[in-house]
Amino acid sequence: MTEATDLAAKAGDADPRVGLRAVAALRRLLERLEAVQVRSARVHGWSWQEIAEELGVSKQAVHKKYGRR
């Protein structure tokens, strides 16, 4: 890597836009992964209580988000 591209890469890492985008994208990915896993657990016969315990949230929270879907 030349000095110029190295500098550019470092500057890029510090760009808040890239960092914020990664966080927003990760959040979206996390939401989708959670939905997939919760649905799968329901298909496997898990109760809302069991799912909530694994996720470390309240049963009400998980049921409100995914119940009746």
């Binding site: 890492d13 890239v18 960092g19 985008r21 990664a22 927003a24 994208a25 990760l26 979206r28 990915l29 939401e31 989708r32 992964l33 939905a35 997939v36 799968s40 879907r69």
Partner: protein, 177 residues
């Protein structure tokens, strides 16, 4: 606000809702709206894209890829790659275990009305502002395209990945009005 839409724009919104319903999505998102624009090749937005040298099929294909990744664009995947997270690897693992398009978030049975998500609402608001700034009288599909290119989100990323910026769309519309 809806009566100020051209026929073209109304058809686009209806198509976005229809697409979301067919896919079983929880809500209408900006990718549904973007894909809807490509379904009317004679519409103002589609002709504008053609004028910018963009193929409608490419727009639809990239939008579908983003949906398959759970709404993450190439730029999102790249940003996560910078953290060592390989989005495509995650997508393929999840699809192996849970079936194709598992992360796309579809497959729900529609229970009546599918709501508009936050982002497409922001897009429609933005449309109105752009129409006013351009001095146009009604909201057409070309203004929906412009707003999609302005409001941050996967649809804007798909457009910018194909070289379509808000400035480029706005320039075409300024010349026309």
């Amino acid at each position: 606000m809806f009566e100020q839409f051209t026929k073209d724009a109304r058809a686009t919104v209806r198509e976005a809702v229809r697409d979301a319903t067919e896919l079983g999505s929880a809500e209408v998102d900006t990718l549904h709206v973007l894909v809807a624009l490509t379904r009317f090749p004679q519409g103002a937005a589609a002709r504008l894209l053609g004028g910018l040298g963009v193929a409608l099929d490419d727009v639809a294909a990239r939008a579908q890829l983003a949906r398959r990744r759970g709404g993450l664009s190439d730029a999102d995947a790249e940003a996560l790659g910078g953290l060592g997270i390989d989005v495509d690897h995650i997508v393929s693992r999840i699809e192996q275990e849970h079936g194709p398009h598992a992360l796309a978030g579809g497959g729900r049975r529609a229970r009546g009305h599918i709501p508009f998500g936050e982002q497409p609402k922001r897009v429609l608001e933005r449309c109105l502002r752009e129409v006013i700034m351009l001095g146009d009288r009604r909201i057409g599909s070309e203004h929906i395209l412009l707003a999609l290119a302005v409001v941050p989100g996967p649809a804007r990323d798909v457009l910018s990945g194909l070289g379509v910026s808000a400035e480029a769309v706005r320039a075409v519309l300024r010349r026309a009005s």
